[in-house]
Each structure stands twice: as C-alpha cells, then as structure tokens.
Amino acid sequence: MMEWITQHLLEKYNFWIAMLIIIIGLGATIVKENLLKKLIGLSIFQTAFFLWVVSLGDVGRNIITTWGLKTQTPPILWKEAAEKGYIYANPLPHVLMLTGIVVSAATTAVALAIVIRIYQKYGTIEEGEIIQKELEFEREGVT
C-alpha cells in the first residue's frame, strides 16, 4: 500500500497537482455563465497545462543530489557541471511552452476583445441574459 502511494502519488505529485488545476479550469469554463469567468477558467486550464509540460523537463530523477535535494542543473553547460557529469533538465518543454504562452496570451486578447464588443451590444456578459436578448431581438425582427 505504502509502495503504491509512493509510486503513484508522491513521485508523480506534479502530475496530480497539474491535473487538479486543469480540472478546476475546465470546470469553470463549462459551468460558469459569466463570459469573463469562462475566459478565466480557460486561462487556468492552459496555464496548468503549461505547468505540467514544464515539469516534464525533469529528466534526472534520483541522479544528482545537491544539498540533499533531488535536482538537476539548469540547461546551461558550464565547466564544473561537465566535469562532474551532472545531468541537465530537458530544455525543450520549456521552449515549447514559451510559444504556448504566447498563443494563450493571443487567445485571451481575442476573447477579451470579443467580450468587450458583446458588452457594447447586449449590455451584459451573462450568457443566459444574452440568449434572452437574442430571443427578444428575433421576436422584434431586429437582426
């Protein structure tokens, strides 16, 4: 039992935390009526996902111990590390997620711009009220 807990929960704590935040974000995106809260949920979802991917860069588990911590050097090559044969973190996930952050920022910007336009048109950002108003428009024949 203890072994199972260590193997599946403690050693993979980064997975569990990231997945928990991802579910919180996705839940907010689906459940919330307010368009801005939906957007915040989406941002949480994306950011938690970045967190998980960055933690994938940790390749040198149980190999190097500095100050008693399981760790590894940053992906920079310097003399001492090369001599002692340190393993460095995989830089690729970080690089991918830098691009991912740019994409998520662009998504947020586009979505915010649309929310502003929605507010200007409907005077509200609650989804239910917007649909109500659309039905009213349809009844009155306004396009």
Partner: protein, 517 residues
C-alpha cells in the same frame, strides 16, 4: 543534405514564409492605400496556386519534398514535408482561396464597415498562411502553431461582422481553444514517451510503445482536440451559429478549406504518425468512427431539414458532409476505397459548399433574403446564381455526373468491399435527406408563384444596416460562383473517367508508408 537542390524543393517554405510576411506588409500598405491589401493578397495567392501546381507535379514525378529549416536534421530541427496528400491539399486551398478573395471584394463592402477592410484582408491572409503552414509542416508542435494562427484569425474574422456574430465567435474561441489545448496536450504526452516531435521519427519510435497508456491517452486527446476543430458530429455545437452569422466570404472559406485542413491533421495523425495497425488492434477506433460518422450524416441532414435560415441549413449540411470524410477514414482499414472516397470528397465538398455559401451571400446582398420562405421567384430575378446553386446542391445530393456523386460512389464501393452494408443504406438514405432539404430551396426559387410574404426586400447586413441594392450582381461575385458550379460538373465527369487515379494512388501509397525517411 546536398548543397544544390531543385528549386521546387524550396517552394513550400517560400509559400508559407512569404504568406506570413506579406500579411504584415499588407497592414503597412493599407495605411497608405485602403484598396492595396486586397490586390496584394489576390496576386500572391494566385502565385501560390501556380507554385503549388509545380509542387504537385514535382511530388508526383520525383517524390516527396523534404525541407530542413535552417539545415538542422529532422529529429532536432523543424522539417517541412510535402507528399502527394499535402500537395493535393495545397492546390485545393490556394485555388478556393483565389475565388474566395475575388468574391470577397464586393461582398466585404456590403457586409463589413469600411474602416475594417484593411484588417479584414490582413487577417484573411494570415488565416491562409496558417492553412498553408498546417499543410506543409512535418512537425507536431509546428503544426500546433499553424493551427492556432489559422484558428485565432478565424475567431477574429467571424467577430468582425459584428451584431449576432459575436456570441458564436466567443463560443468558438472557447471551444477552439479547448480543442487546440487538447491537441497540444496529446502531443506532449507523445513527446514525454518518445522524446521527439517529428512525424517520421515518431512513426519509427511509436510501435515499440503502442500499448503504453500515455501513448493511447495522447492519441485520444489529439483526436478529440482536432475533432472539435473539424466539427465531427457530437462536437459540432459551435459551428452552425458561426457559419450563419460570419461574413459570407468567411463562411465559404471556412466551410470549404479551413475545415478540410483541420480534417487533414486527423488523417495525417491516423496514417503518418500512427498506423492503421494501431487504430485497428490497439484501440479499435475504426468502427467507432464509422458509426459516429453514420449518425452524424443522418443527424446533420435531419437538422438541416428543420432550418429556415439558408446559411444555417448549409451549416448543418456541412456537419453531415464532413461526416462522409470521417466515414471514409473509418472504412479505410477495411478497404482502400474508403480513403479514395475521403480524399475525393475533400475536393468535391470544398467546391460544392464554397459555391453554396457564396450563393447564399449573393442572394442576401442582392435581394435581401435570408429566410428560405422568402425565396420565391428568385430563379427569375437571379438566374445565374440560382442555376449555380441548383448545380452545387445536386452535387451535394449526389446526382450522377456531379462531383458529389463520385465521392458517394467511392464510399459505397468501400462499404461494399468492407461488407458493411449498413453504411450503404445510410449513404443512400442521406442522399434522400439531402434531396429533401435542398429541394425545398430549389422548389421555392423556381416553382412557387408569388405569395404574400413579410419580406421587406431590404438588404441588411449583420449589424442591421440597410444597404442600397445594386442593379445587378457584380461580376466579381458572379464569376467565382459560376466557376465553382462549373467545376462541380467537370469534376464529376473527371472523377468518373478515373483520370485522377494516379494522383490518388500516390496519395494512398504515401499515406500507407507514412512520411518516408
């Protein structure tokens, strides 16, 4: 890598790079002259069409093009791969985009306020660059970037119409972002197992770990993510509103090329990154896809029958037509005809649905009719557009000697060869359902005599502005419609003569082998 290459091998990267570069140049030139961006975009995409024909010729005669960005070898650097499938798609995309741009000239003046024209064309060019990028890339992460470029610009292009388009655009942002995020999620699962992002490299490394849960999870996430973007049936909910209220040019471009390129990602994942063996034996997805597609074909058609707004009807029709392609892909492990049908339908649906959406936009602009019930007498008022609409609708239904007939025929061959007779019935039934909803429109246009309606006859755009109607439909809008309708018939005959068979064979063999090292 040899130092001296055939110049054709440089073309994919030139197409993509210059498309991106010109998009920003257009923004600058638009500052000085508002009309210039349109002409730059049109000229460049015409050149792209010619270049992609060269690429297609090269791919068919010599073999796949592989371009290493910056000279870095594939597993480390980003690689652009163009095989027959990509080249085929490039030709379709660039051709439809030319016609779409010609059409957009006068349509945009009607549907979008004057101050936004420059930005509109810049965004269109960026979207096209994204589509070209998805088509030529051979790297999973690079594909995500192009996917997001194509999607983000699409969000903005839908919202640019204003009015009722805003809420659907917001829905699309949320759904599309979740889809893209799931895609990259899956890619990162695969990366965490294989340590590579290159298609060819991944295809070599994956078979060893097919029963790994992370790989199967990654595959599932990629499929669901891309399915949201390509609105395969249960994930289509964002689509009808978007297509209804987006500017007609964008509806037609999205329905004809945007979604095809999204679906291409799925095909590439199935055949080039994973193999049919994986889909067949490890997860058993093929029959699931077939049945989902079969339900989608019927459900999309039935919803389309219910609609009164022409564009919304066409949107639901798209849901059912995209499922044909999914059905072809699902049948392909059992019969090669499945993929033939899918690749043929990619072209046929692009032509037909592009034409139909353009007709819908032209009818609204000219006569101010959006509701099918107000269509009476349209056959006399707009003879050419109505005729084109009828031909394209026949192609969608699958009347013999139109383009849609050929792809349906191939799909029926596939289901017969696979001994799945249920799909034959579903394909024939869906033809009948298509006939029901398209005949409603054709009947209203040609055969219904004058009836008292509440149609004001005013041409209004999305924001409710009443615009002045032109005397007759501008040639720049009529010509693309007529060309696409003519292509529906020409392609219908060309498919039956089996002239494109070498191309299809090349596509099939390239996909079966995957991306070759």
């Amino acid at each position: 890598m040899t130092l001296i290459q055939n110049p054709v091998e440089q073309l994919p990267v030139i197409i993509v790079g210059l498309s991106m570069f010109l998009a920003y140049t257009m923004l600058l030139t638009g500052y000085f002259n508002r009309r210039l961006p349109f002409y730059i975009s049109l000229a460049w995409n015409s050149i792209c069409f010619i270049l992609s024909l060269f690429i297609l010729n090269y791919v068919l005669t010599v073999g796949p093009i592989r371009y290493w960005q910056g000279g870095w070898r594939p597993p480390w650097g980003i690689e652009y791969v163009v095989d027959a499938m990509n080249a085929y798609l490039l030709v379709i995309v660039s051709f439809i985009v030319i016609l779409g741009l010609i059409y957009s000239k006068r349509n945009v003046e009607f549907e979008i306020e004057a101050g936004k024209h420059v930005v509109f064309y810049v965004l269109v060019q960026l979207m096209i660059a994204g589509l070209y990028g998805i088509t030529v890339t051979g790297d999973l992460f690079n594909m995500f970037i192009w996917l997001e470029i194509a999607s983000l610009t699409a969000y903005a292009l839908i919202a640019v119409a204003g009015g009722r388009a805003l809420r659907p655009a917001y829905n699309y942002v949320i759904m599309g972002s979740i889809g893209a995020c799931l895609y990259i999620f899956g890619v990162c699962w695969l990366y965490s197992v294989t340590g590579t992002l290159n298609f060819a490299d991944m295809r070599l490394l994956l078979p060893l770990v097919y029963d790994n849960k992370a790989v199967q999870m990654g595959f599932a996430m990629i499929v669901v993510g891309v399915m949201i973007k390509a609105y395969i049936f249960p994930l289509h909910l964002w689509q009808p509103d978007v297509y209804t209220y987006a500017p007609s040019t964008i509806s037609s471009l999205m329905a004809s090329v945007h979604v095809k390129v999204m679906f291409y990602i799925l095909i590439r994942m199935f055949y080039s990154v994973f193999t049919l063996g994986f889909i067949n034996h490890f997860i058993g997805l093929d029959m699931l896809i077939c049945w989902v597609a079969a339900i989608a074909i019927l459900a999309g058609s039935i919803w389309a029958i219910k609609q009164r707004n022409l564009k919304r009807m066409l949107a639901y029709s798209s849901v059912s037509q995209m499922a044909y392609i999914a059905l072809g892909v699902g049948l392909s492990p059992l019969s090669p005809w499945g993929l033939v049908g899918a690749t043929a339908h990619i072209l046929n649906h692009a032509i037909g649905k592009g034409c139909l959406f353009m007709c819908a936009g032209a009818m609204n602009q000219q006569e101010g009719v959006k509701d099918i019930r107000n269509f009476e007498g349209l056959g006399k008022k707009m003879p050419y557009v109505s005729a084109a609409f009828t031909i394209a609708a026949f192609s969608m239904i699958g009347i013999p000697f139109t383009a849609g007939f050929a792809s349906k025929l191939f799909l029926i061959f596939a289901s017969l060869e696979a001994n799945q007779y249920a799909f034959v019935v579903i394909l024939l039934l869906s033809g009948l359902l298509n006939l029901v909803y398209f005949w409603r429109v054709i009947d209203q246009m040609y055969f219904v005599k004058h009836k008292a309606t509440n149609n004001t006859g005013e041409a209004t755009n999305n924001t409710g502005e009443v615009k002045e109607k032109g005397k007759s439909l501008p040639l720049s809008m009529g010509a693309p419609i007529v060309i696409l309708a003519a292509l529906c018939i020409i392609m219908g005959i060309v498919w039956l003569t089996m002239i494109p068979l070498p191309l299809i064979n090349q596509i099939l063999s390239n996909l079966r082998m995957g991306v070759i090292i």
